[in-house]
Symmetry: C2
Subunit: 324 residues, 2 copies
């Protein structure tokens, strides 16, 4: 039973190089060389029973999130989404209301991000509901920000506040629902169900050439930082006190830092930048009203070390990986 | 329980117009205006238990077909495929051999068609194996051939020979397998499992501006011709004796014409053209060694009429539609 990373690694080896492919398998989105600008291409699966349960929320919320996670991939490249495809496989007997709600959510978040849905496919599913969302986006020539590219001495930044999505997921799994949750619980559940892709911020960072590498936090800060480190062959030191822990996590979690470090599905941006760009990064944060935290530094060596009140400990990525 | 056409019709209404979208939801592929050329974008779902069964063939064959049907969508626009994404949801415990075989087939047909696989997604599936294949292609500016565009007096053409795919499917469902099939059965099963997308022919037709409308036969000649007629508001007269019936169908089917008229998953091209282009179309057929048959004419009115030894009868589309 191979893991997701093993599969992707094999596919990367198998994929042929082509003239127009600037970035292929293994980043948040592929980058294709265009004439006036470069094209971005990416897709995400959302599977009932794996990524969501129908009793957790309105179909509209599920549709919205299905496209949101793909928008986040475009954000992680610093791109602007343009056009989308949506493929859905529907269990027999599924109601018109569910289908309408699902697509309402997809079209709602598409519209808000000026994305036109231009096609896709529909099929019967003998099992759960499956959604595959595909986006084509664009970015200025040569400005797409990859996972690779970080250097020793770069600073490490993260947008937003972390940990609430996994907390929200746990609450949902424990039976808490939006209608009968406390205000704090509600915030966590909303962070899980309605992530807000950081398109504008990502695009400002790319346009200003402010980052050396970028990724969105889908598997967890520790795991996704691990992806950046793998690509550049460096290590990282993270300041535990600088990690922005979300309010509901501070209020409700037994070990808030653990959730913030390892919790997945945040869809915040994690990026590295030269120290001299700090002011301009803070400027992007102000312009988009999105908090940005400087949490550490890229260093020589391997792996992630966590600095916690003068004690330094190595930490292992503990985020999410599908194993089949 | 809505049908596939009802869903697509609703989505078409909902989709917003955008400046760069030349063709949106409802054709074989979307067409996006580019600088030097136009871009094509399309996707297809392949679901275990709906589109294939794992005991029918080697995983390599299943992977190959998953991408072949999307290549056929690009062929139906007259385009050239360039870049692909593949998303797969895998049941727990699936073997490495199955995954390797699946991707081997996908990369094999991608390579043969000069397509680079640049990304996708993998997920666990709590149900069947699920594949979504996405292609981006290109065509000369303004040359993509839509489903709409047929006119009264246009001739109707079809590539290849029809009916064998559905015959092959029935044989597989009856338990016949490639290893222990007669030569005639084998031909039908191969047509079903290994469709050959008509990329080169479609591209020649588009480059020469030889067709007024085009579609690939995925749902059956009667149904897919119905799509062309719906778009142009015309009818069609088809000559039963001109319909190219595949050899295994003549040999094994009780009603060969019925299979050729209504059988789906042929992935042949069905197109309409002005009479004066006939010689040039035959020329494309010779250049690609692909048989092309003139089967009828677009006429005023509605629906399809079948001419059979001087008797004309109306026929209803009886091809495939997913109903949920």
């Amino acid at each position: 039973m191979p893991g997701e990373r093993e599969i992707i690694s094999k596919l990367r080896q198998r994929a042929q190089a082509a003239d127009n492919v600037i970035v292929g398998i293994g980043d948040d989105a592929a980058v294709l060389g265009g004439d006036a600008c470069d094209l971005l291409l990416c897709s995400d699966l959302t599977v009932e029973g794996v990524h969501f349960r129908l009793d957790w929320a309105d179909p509209r919320v599920i549709g919205r999130k299905a496209l949101a996670v793909t928008l986040s991939d475009i954000a992680a490249m610093g791109g602007t989404p343009l056009t989308g495809l949506v493929s859905v496989a529907l269990p027999p007997g599924v109601s018109s209301d569910l289908i309408d709600g699902l697509f309402e959510g997809i079209f709602e978040i598409a519209g808000r991000n000026r994305v036109t849905i231009v096609g896709g496919d529909t099929s019967l599913s003998p099992g759960p509901l499956f959604i595959d969302t595909v986006l084509m986006g664009t970015c200025l020539k040569g400005r797409a920000i990859r996972r690779s590219g970080a250097h020793k001495g770069d600073r490490i930044y993260v947008t937003g506040r972390l940990g609430a999505s996994t907390l929200g997921l746990r609450l949902l799994e424990q039976g808490v629902r939006l209608g009968r949750a406390s205000e704090t619980e509600r915030q966590a559940i909303i962070k899980h169900l309605s992530p807000d892709p950081r398109i504008d911020f990502g695009s400002l960072i790319a346009t200003g050439e402010l980052a050396t590498s970028m990724i969105d936090i889908s598997d967890g800060l520790s795991t996704d930082l691990g992806h950046i480190l793998e690509e550049c062959g460096c290590g990282a030191v993270i300041d535990a006190n600088a990690i922005p822990v979300a309010e509901p996590v501070r209020a409700l979690a037994l070990d808030p830092l653990r959730l913030a470090l390892h919790g997945g599905e945040e869809y915040e941006l994690l990026f590295t930048a030269r120290p001299e760009n700090h002011e301009r990064i803070i400027d992007c944060s102000s312009k988009t009203s999105l908090p940005v935290s400087l949490i550490g530094e890229i260093v020589q060596g391997k792996g992630i070390r966590l600095m916690r009140d003068d004690v330094i400990e190595g930490i292992e990525p503990q985020g999410f990986e599908h194993v089949f």
